[in-house]
């Protein structure tokens, strides 16, 4: 964002200085165009029900989303414990049968990807942060936003209900590949799969309502002076992920509808002719590969729906806690947008072993490797942001550093798997498990944790305990590495994933000790998360009140009339934005940060760049 760029581009409407002339008034360097839109009418709840339950305030809805998602996440965590119990110590827990194991795997995967990470980033952080960060009073359609959460809540309730129906939840693997998903013999092929499909469809409908809100709020409800290129990267990440979700979830909805019809009324969309115990089933003529294409057309963008908000949030956290502007802001924005666009052209790399034309595999391998370019640019930019920054090694920064390490690790193994010839032998081994847990499990969770420590003072007005936070970080980081790093090795020696037990296979000798070790680490990491819960409860009861803007950040959410912000966010007047949110350590400035609302006339003597 140098002056040269501004001059070359010719479009100067975005900088407040440039507008001075076009307004035709007296030269005033602080001029910002007047508001285009009247103030938003807000519905203020008065009863407990309208204030806290069916609330139309995006901040409350964000917290509702957050807590519901965390609840499902804890269920997913417990399921992973049970899985590791079986894998590390087969037969120790007698109640875990093979059917149970598959049900745990399936529910763990689906919960973590869709109901935990997606809901937490977009529903939780999106709702809380978008209106605050772009300077809006609320989401543009608060009522629809409220419906969105309750639709999500019903989806979660139906998902959880599937644990208690006859036959239990589905055990088909989180990808729900037909034909086995709905055939007898697969655990939960009765009510379990049906509830799963209904729950997914409701989730998509609920998310669509929320997603429309996030998109229109970002596009049409920013405050005065807030140009797109002055938005925090958090908003860019969540916005782009929402666009992806709006275009990718339709494929999930369609495949859920079609599979429900296959299951309930006996159509054969995905069901080929099947011989079962010598008998030909009623099904015939359908295409199981069609489901895989539909599923992964949703499934691959889904990875970036989880990753892009994490990219955005971590950029902001690193910038604030390294007291330096984010390196290459525009490059970061375009990388987010580029990754989002490319993510729609890589889906079939999940299907190399399903059988496809070699040229088809060639195409998808190429696109997959191309997507590594903008991703690598982002990693370099994070590191260059840290370079010679005034880094505060606090809990938030530790989580960010942990994110970079785990993300690079998972990203590199992704390049392995993107190549057809490497993927075919590694497919369906623990290498794949290690890869996707590193890149879209641990890495985004690191960002979530960093974000919780960062924004907790904003939401509750109290600072989380740093000592507990550091214990929490180190236990999680080292523990998670102990889980997933050895899994790469297991994959290389050929241990297949989705196996209930290794029995007397040759893997037993070298894998058995490692599996025990991984399981112990998994128990530790899971338990370490309760440090955070303890920390939150302790802080809410006895924590020290946070000062206003405790991290000395620039973005608008820290510059509200009250902290925590009230309904309507900004008190009497909406803020007016004059700069990007990354003016840290500007030479000549009074403080080492210049909030977005500081007008240029107050910082004329500094070396602040025009943004």
């Amino acid at each position: 964002m140098s002056d040269e760029y501004e001059n070359k581009s010719g479009y100067q409407a975005q900088s407040s200085e440039a507008l001075t002339g076009s307004a035709g008034s007296t030269p005033d360097m602080d001029y910002v165009r007047p508001a285009e839109l009247p103030e938003q009418d807000l519905y203020h709840g008065h009863t407990f029900l309208t204030k806290w339950v069916f609330c139309q305030d995006a901040k409350v809805i964000g917290v509702q989303y957050f807590l519901t998602a965390v609840f499902t996440g804890i269920v997913g965590l417990i399921l992973s414990w049970l899985m590791r119990l079986q894998l590390g110590f087969p037969g120790l827990a007698g109640f875990i049968t093979a059917e149970h194991y598959y049900q745990f795997v399936t529910m763990h995967g689906m919960i973590m990807v869709v109901y935990f990470l997606t809901a937490l980033f977009l529903g939780g952080f999106g709702n809380y942060l978008i209106p605050l960060m772009v300077g809006a009073r609320d989401m543009v359609f608060p009522y629809v936003n409220m419906l969105s959460f309750w639709m999500f809540f019903v989806a979660v309730a139906i998902l959880m209900a599937s644990f208690f129906v006859p036959g239990g939840p589905t055990g088909a693997g989180w990808t729900l590949y037909p034909p086995q998903t709905i055939l007898e013999g697969t655990p939960g092929s009765g009510m379990g799969i049906l509830l799963m499909l209904i729950s997914l469809a409701l989730f998509v409908i609920g998310f669509t309502m929320g997603g429309l809100n996030y998109m229109i709020t970002v596009l049409q409800a920013r405050t005065r002076g807030m140009t797109l290129m002055r938005m925090p990267l958090t908003v860019w990440g969540i916005f782009t992920a929402t666009v992806l979700a709006m275009l990718a979830f339709p494929a999930l909805l369609v495949s859920a509808i079609m599979m429900t019809l296959d299951k309930v009324i006996g159509t054969s969309f995905f069901m080929p002719t099947i011989l079962k115990a010598g008998e030909v089933l009623e099904y015939g003529g359908g295409s199981p590969i069609l489901f895989q294409h539909l599923f992964w057309f949703f499934g691959h963008p889904e990875v970036y729906i989880v990753a892009l908000p994490a990219f955005g949030i971590v950029s902001d956290l690193i910038s604030v806690h390294a007291r330096k502007n984010i390196f290459g802001y525009r490059m970061m924005v375009w990388a987010i947008v580029g990754i989002g666009a490319l993510s729609f052209f890589v889906w079939a790399h999940h299907m190399y072993v399903s059988g496809m034309n070699p040229w088809f595999g060639f195409f998808f391998a190429t696109t997959t490797l191309i997507i590594a370019v903008p991703t690598a640019m982002k990693v370099y930019n994070w590191i260059l942001t840290l370079w010679r920054g005034n880094i505060r090694i606090n809990t938030v920064m530790l989580w960010c550093l942990g994110f970079i390490v785990t993300f690079v690790n998972g990203g590199i193994t992704g390049i392995f798997l993107g190549n057809v010839s490497v993927d075919v032998p590694l497919s369906d081994t623990y290498f794949v498990v290690a890869h996707f847990h590193m890149v879209m499990g641990i890495a985004p969770v690191m960002v979530i944790m960093g974000a919780v420590y960062h924004w907790f003072p904003l939401i509750t007005g109290r600072l989380l305990n740093e000592t507990l936070g550091k214990w929490h970080f180190w236990a999680t980081f080292l523990g998670a590495y102990s889980i997933y790093f050895p899994m790469h090795y297991l994959g290389f020696i050929g241990v297949p994933r989705r196996y209930y037990e290794m029995y007397d296979s040759p893997y037993m000798t070298s894998a058995v000790g490692m599996n025990e070790f991984i399981s112990l680490a998994a128990f530790l990491v899971g338990a370490a998360q309760f440090i955070l819960i303890f920390n939150i409860i302790k802080t809410l009861k006895t924590g020290k009140p946070a000062p206003k803007n405790p991290w000395k950040a620039n973005s608008l959410e820290w510059h509200t009339s009250t902290q925590p912000p009230e309904h309507g966010n900004f008190g009497e007047r909406l803020p007016v934005v004059h700069r990007w949110p990354y003016d840290f350590s500007v030479p000549g400035a009074k403080d080492d940060f210049i909030p977005q609302t500081t007008p240029p006339s107050e910082v004329v003597h500094t070396k602040v760049e025009k943004t």
């Binding site: 409407a13 975005q14 508001a35 285009e36 359609f141 596009l219 807030m226 909805l253 969309f269 934005v577």
Partner: protein
């Protein structure tokens, strides 16, 4: 509708104008109502839903080993003792496209604050939509009487019935939802909810405006456009 004038912002035409709108603060689409922008984005998402359905239909039709039924025989209608191919579908399509015309006129009269004309035209659109749904119900029952089911049909591949009932059913649901809203909005127009600054909505606190008729119109035109594709893929292929 004249071009909206935004204070301090000159709306420039063409790519240059789009770039300066995009680079500006507050809104990206200058003077565009939130609800209208929302409907456009929803329709984009819905386009993906129907695209997935139709692509799945193409793939399903391609991969089934059994022969696909001949649409001009399956969808023929007896008129004066002669089977006329696609007669009913032609009528349905005509009715639906006509209702798009009345909808467009309703939007025009709405912006002209011509309450009566706008209301009657929204009502006419609703009746057109209702007629379409009725004819579709007739077509469904005719096929069902001939033995076509989602899981089998006497004319050939079972997937024919599956895709036909699923996709026309999904589209018919869209039309039915549209018809319900058209009736509600016809009432709202006649009752003057968009006059004199607008009445606040039932659930939300947003004030009504004739732009809502245009938003509903966007949805209605979209449903018609989707029908054109379904028509082409099911009846002409």
């Amino acid at each position: 509708m004249s071009d909206p004038k935004i204070d301090g912002f000159e709306l420039k035409p063409g790519f240059r104008g789009m770039a300066s709108d995009t680079g500006s603060d507050q809104t990206m689409f200058k003077g565009v109502h939130w609800g209208k922008a929302m409907m456009w984005i929803f329709l984009l998402s819905d386009t993906f839903v129907f695209s997935c359905f139709l692509i799945a239909y193409m793939k399903g039709r391609g991969s089934t080993p059994v022969e696909w039924p001949n649409p001009s025989e399956v969808f023929a209608l007896e008129a004066f003792g002669v089977p006329v191919p696609l007669l009913l579908i032609a009528l349905m399509t005509f009715v639906l496209i006509t209702s798009s015309g009345t909808m467009a006129l309703a939007v025009k009269y709405g912006y002209e604050k011509n309450r009566k004309m706008c209301g009657w035209l929204v009502l006419a659109t609703a009746i057109g939509g209702l007629t379409f749904v009725g004819m579709q119900a007739y077509e469904w029952s005719k096929l069902i009487h001939e033995g076509v089911r989602p899981w089998e049909n006497p004319f050939g591949a079972a997937q024919f019935g599956s895709f036909f009932f699923m996709i026309t059913g999904f589209h018919g649901t869209h039309v039915s939802i549209g018809v319900i809203f058209l009736f509600i909005y016809a009432y709202k127009v006649f009752a003057g909810h968009y006059e004199n600054g607008g009445k606040r909505g039932w659930f939300t606190t947003m004030k009504g405006d004739y732009v809502e008729i245009e938003i509903l119109g966007l949805y209605w035109h979209f449903v018609d456009l989707v029908w054109v594709f379904i028509f082409a893929f099911f009846y002409l292929w």
